[in-house]
């Protein structure tokens, strides 16, 4: 029972991070029908940018204000990178064959990943303790302050995003564009603005996810983007790609699944189990859990 509760807490923590990152993939995929391979690397970059901002602007010390400042500044920097990425690597290819955009995305991923390496070196870096290491032992189950903050903060961000998407005019426009870009354009929606908005929101959430990864795992490397990115993308697929609540659900499910596999089976085969889950879900529900089945129009 202790293992169960412990892994439940760990799983929800990892799941929150997956969900935050998955949102960036799913929103971009929804409107552009493109896997933004560079998203994972932007997430990795955000951990390094956060580290850089903290050591150069604040030096040391932990306070809630410093933490908030680091998060905000990192999110702004990464969002600017995201908008720049869209402008340079994706916008010129919007009408090109699908595969060209995929390769451009892969290229962007390489540029960001190796850019991090050229700037900060190939070694593992230790992320600073922005948030004090406080642990509570709840009868055999250990939960840290960082875990609680990650879960609470992710939940708040996801609820906010959900309200934004469902209740605001901009959110409606985003949903419309992901159903039919051309029809949305004919209705007077500026799809360029929509895409920029999506990149700003998606990469900011990803930046928060990246900082959480730094806080939670401590060790950050230049090439960790693919690892987390792939998991988050799988989460998005499991939930139903293009579907925002789906990404949240998929992230949580995958986080829990990973944690329980690590707790009860083994962690050496973690990836094998993740991909088996993905394949099983795709065989039984090809469009994911919350994705709608769409019959091809003939």
């Amino acid at each position: 029972m202790d293992i169960f509760l412990q892994q439940l807490a760990n799983g929800l923590t990892i799941g929150s991070m997956f969900a935050l990152i998955a949102l960036g993939y799913t929103m971009v995929y929804g409107v552009m029908k493109l896997i933004n391979f560079a998203h994972g690397d932007l997430v990795a970059a955000s951990a390094f940018v956060g580290l850089f901002i903290f050591t150069n602007l604040f030096g040391s010390g932990t306070s809630i204000f410093i933490a908030i400042a680091v998060f905000l500044l990192t999110a702004v920097v990464i969002a600017i990178c995201g908008v720049f990425l869209e402008r340079v690597a994706y916008r010129p290819l919007r009408t090109a064959p699908r595969l060209s955009a995929v390769v451009s995305a892969l290229g962007a991923s390489m540029v960001i990943q190796n850019g991090i390496m050229l700037l900060w070196g190939p070694q593992l870096k230790i992320f600073p303790d922005l948030i004090p290491q406080v642990y509570w032992d709840l009868g055999g189950v250990v939960i840290s302050l960082i875990q609680v903050l990650i879960m609470a903060f992710s939940l708040i961000l996801m609820i906010a995003l959900y309200i934004f998407i469902e209740k605001t005019k901009m959110g409606t426009a985003i949903r419309a564009s992901s159903i039919d870009q051309d029809a949305a354009r004919l209705m007077g929606i500026n799809v360029n603005n929509i895409i920029v908005t999506i990149f700003v929101i998606g990469t900011s959430l990803g930046a928060v996810g990246g900082l959480f990864i730094g806080l939670y795992y401590k060790g950050i490397t230049f090439n960790m983007g693919w690892q987390y990115g792939l998991n988050a993308f799988i989460a998005a697929i499991i939930g139903g790609i293009g579907n925002i609540p789906g990404a949240m659900l998929g992230g949580m499910l995958l986080g829990l699944f990973n944690a329980f596999i690590a707790g009860y089976v083994s962690s050496t085969w973690a990836d094998a189990f993740t991909f088996t889950l993905l394949i099983v879900i795709l065989i039984f529900r090809p469009t994911g859990i919350l994705g709608e089945r769409v019959a091809e129009k003939v």
Partner: protein, 319 residues
Amino acid sequence: MIKKLQPIAYPLFFLAMMSMPAFLDPRWLAVATTFIIFTIVALSTDIVLGKGGMFNMGQALFFGLGAYTSAILNAKFGWPLLATLPAAILIPALFGVLLAGPIVHLRGDYLLVTLIGFNIVFIQVLQNNLGGLTGGPNGIFGLDVISLPGMTDSPQLGAFYTALIALLITLLVMFNLDKSKAGRALHYLREDELAASSIGINTRVYKIFAFALGAGIAGMAGTIYANQYSAVSPEAFDFVQSVLFFSIVIVGGSSVPGIFLGVFVMFVLPEIFREFATWRYFIFGFAMIFTMILRPRGIWPATFGKIPRRLIKEGNNGN
């Protein structure tokens, strides 16, 4: 002009390649051999990705499966390396059928992620030394080499010519494929799967066929790879390699010359500019983005319209 050169371009290319060892020192001969091996794998990727239009981002798996089949049969069971070749072709081909079977119906990006998944699981299997056969993270070393007649004293030379023969076989298969029912079926299903099935093409069978054929050829390249290095280890078959092969095919335009060019840029240029090694992927990343923006169909796009001359009548604005 290029059209006219085509019939003699390939014989010329092979003559040039055959005389290569006369000009190259051992280091560059090894680079040339690697170039040929990676070209074969890229061409095998093209069968699935370029011809069949399926987003294949897991080709390194089949490449590695061939290499490991040869290595295990040679190192653990004492087969001569050349005798392992049929197994190194058939086992990956069989895995191509088994792995592709349940997933070929998936839409492009889903297929891509699933194949990355297979590739990652494959590496995990190798590193965890499954069944004590794969040698864990260090791989298997101390393999025999294939001895070609007259080249027994120079394994380097033998490896080069073995690779060249494999390339020749691969190109022949690719040309045969283009002039056959099976090859055309792949083109049709890439262009419009629904239309293809509506005129009677069993798209599922041909998709699996493409995977099996691509896997078999990649497996052959795997044996050649094991032959060149006398060793195999997991990182050579990582999914990052699959990503590179995928990019080479698309950047090249999924044509044979385009793929040659792509492999040259990705694997040979870094050998020439070794001092910029750390900048390698940073620069490639930009090169990939800008090539796609400037030439969305690739540097040297594949052409269609190869039809028998007797069907072309006068009044044709033939091209």
